[in-house]
C-alpha cells in the first residue's frame, strides 16, 4: 500500500480541488482528509458516514470552587495563562500539562479526559473516506491527524485498496508534520505567486527533512508566467518531478459551486489534465 500526501505550505493553492479531482480518476483509493482544522473535502465528496468516533486527547482539568482556597499557586505556576482571576480553567488556553493539579495544596483540581473532536469513516462515490472535525478552538490537531492517517491505512488494508490519498493541511507545523509521517510521497501544489513560492520552499525543506520523495503540480498557470518558470526551475534543481500544470480558470470555482470534482464537471477539458497528472504520479510510484 502507498500513501500520497497533498500539501502546499500556503493555504488556498487548490489542494482540495486537486485531491477531489485525483479521487475521480485512476485506481480505487481510500481518501483521507487531514486538514482537520478546516476540512473541506467532504463538501465535494458528500460522504455517507458509516462510523463516528470521539477523539480524546490529553486531560481537561477542573477546579472545584468548594475546595479551592484561592491560594493562587496554580495561576502562578501555569505557563499558559490558562487560569482565570476567579480560579477557573480557561479551556482554550489549557494545554493539559497537569501543573495546576500537581501544585494545588487543597486537592481542588480534578482531571477528565478531554474530548477534542470526532473522526469518521464514510462511504463516498469514489471509495471510502476517513475525515475528522476538530472541536472549535481545540488543540492537538497533530494527534487527530495521526488518528485519521492510521485509520485510513487500516481501512485500506481491510478493503484491499493499494492507495491512500491524503488532503494535507496548510503550513509547516504540527498538523503537516503529522500528515507526512509514514507517507510514501508528497505532492506539492504550487501557485505562481511570490508568497506561495516562498511557502513551497518552506514545505519542501520539510519534505527533505523527512527524506520524502516529492512531486509538484503548478496550479493557476497563466497568472504569472515568470514565476511559473521559477517554479519549474525550482523543481528541476530540487529533484521534484513536475506531475503537471493546471490553468488559472474559473471552471474550478464553478465545479466547487456544483459540489462536483473538476473531473466530473469538465471531463473533456480539465478532467483530462487531471488524468494526465495521475498518469505521471503512477509512473513515479
Amino acid at each position: 500500500m502507498k500513501q500520497i500526501v497533498v500539501i502546499s505550505g500556503k493555504g488556498g493553492t487548490g489542494k482540495t480541488s486537486v485531491v477531489s479531482g485525483l479521487a475521480s480518476v485512476g485506481p480505487k483509493k481510500v481518501l483521507s482528509d487531514c486538514d482537520v482544522d478546516a476540512a473541506d473535502l467532504h463538501l465535494i465528496l458528500k460522504p455517507d458516514v458509516l462510523e463516528t468516533n470521539d477523539f480524546f486527547s490529553g486531560e481537561r482539568p477542573e477546579i472545584s470552587a468548594d475546595k479551592c482556597t484561592s491560594c493562587g499557586l496554580c495561576a502562578e505556576h501555569c505557563r499558559f495563562d490558562a487560569i482565570s482571576d476567579d480560579f477557573q480553567i480557561i479551556p482554550e488556553k489549557c494545554e493539559g500539562c497537569g501543573v495546576c493539579s500537581y501544585v494545588c495544596p487543597a486537592d481542588a483540581v480534578s482531571t477528565l479526559p478531554r474530548k477534542c473532536g470526532q473522526w469518521f469513516i464514510s462511504d463516498t462515490r469514489f471509495g471510502k473516506m476517513v475525515h475528522a472535525a476538530l472541536g472549535i478552538g481545540e488543540e492537538n490537531s497533530g494527534k487527530l491527524v495521526t488518528t485519521v492517517r492510521n485509520a485510513s491505512a487500516e481501512v485500506a488494508e481491510k478493503e484491499g485498496v493499494e492507495l491512500v490519498l491524503v488532503d494535507g493541511s496548510p503550513g509547516v507545523g504540527c498538523p503537516v508534520i503529522a500528515s507526512l509521517t509514514n507517507a510514501d510521497m508528497a505532492l506539492l501544489v504550487a501557485e505562481p505567486t511570490v508568497t506561495a513560492m516562498h511557502d513551497l520552499e518552506r514545505v519542501h525543506s520539510l519534505t527533505k527533512h523527512f527524506r520524502l520523495p516529492s512531486m509538484a503540480i503548478i496550479n493557476k498557470c497563466g497568472l504569472n508566467p515568470e514565476l511559473e518558470e521559477t517554479i519549474r526551475k525550482f523543481c528541476t534543481e530540487n529533484d521534484v518531478t513536475l506531475a503537471g500544470e493546471l490553468p488559472y480558470d474559473r471552471t474550478f470555482t464553478r465545479a466547487q459551486l456544483e459540489k462536483k470534482s473538476i473531473v466530473e464537471y469538465d471531463p473533456d477539458g480539465l478532467g483530462k489534465k487531471i488524468e494526465q497528472i495521475w498518469n505521471s504520479i503512477e509512473l513515479k510510484l
Partner: protein, 286 residues
Amino acid sequence: MRIAIASGKGGTGKTTVAVNLAAYLDSQDIDTGFIDCDVEEPNAHFFLKPELGPAKEETLPVPEIITDKCLGESCKKCIEQCRFKSLIWMVSEVLVFAELCHGCGLCELACPADAITEGKRVVGTTSTGKAGDINFATALLKIGEAMSPPLIKAVKKADSKSEVVITDCPPGTSCPVIEAIEGSDFVVLVTEPTPFGLHDLDLAVQLLKILKYKFGVVINRSGMGDNSVEEYLNKNNIPLLGSLPHSRDAASTYSSGDLLWDKIPGFKQEYEKIWNSIIKLTSGAA
C-alpha cells in the same frame, strides 16, 4: 487598538487584506504597526517590504537532566508526570525528547532531587523593523518544529506602542489562531464566496463567539462564486465590513508581491469603508 485578521480557510486573502489595510492606514497618517503571526508561512514582508533588523532566536524552556543528581530508576517521577511523553527511561538514564516538550515545567517541580534545570530549545526567530512608517514585526518557525504558539506569543510582544496594530493570523481554528488573536480589540474574518469559504468561515465565527470577540467579515474575490456568504451574514447578523471584487488584475498584481489598495480601481474606497466599519463597531473600545 489591535486588529487581528483571520479566517478558517487558508488562501482566502488574510495577508492581502492585512497588508493593504495597514498600507491604507499608513497613507492616512495613522501610526500603524504590523505583526505577522502566521509564523509557519509568514508572507506579509513580500508586500510591505520592510527593512528588518537582525533575526533574534526565540526559545522554549525544556528540561535538562543533571545525571549526577538524578535518583534514577527508583524514582522516575518526572517521566510519570510528563503528559507529553517527552521524557523516557532509556537503559540507565532519563532521556529528553525536547521536540515533544511543551515547556510546562512540571518535571522540574516533580523532581525530588533538584536534578532538572531549564535548558532551551530554539523554536524559530523573530525580527522587527520598519516598512516606511509602519512598525513591522515578523517571525519564522524553524523547519521541523511543530509548536508555533510560543513563537506567536513572542512576536506579538514586538509592538505595543503603535496606535493601530494589525496582526496577520495563521489559518484554522486551533491553538495557533487563538494565540494570535489573543488581546485583539476587533477581528476581521476574510472569506471568499465559495462553499469552502463559507464552511470555514462558519467555523471561525463559532470560535470567535466562544472567545467573545467583536468581529466583522470581508469578502475577498467577491463575484467569483455565489451569494451564500452574504446570505449567511444576513441570517446571523454579522457585519459585512466590505467586499473586494474578484479580478484577474488583482490576482496577478498580488502574484508579483504588489499592494492592491492604490492600484486596483475601487479598492481604495473599499479599504476606507472597511476601516470606517471597524471604527464604528469598536467605538467605545480604546
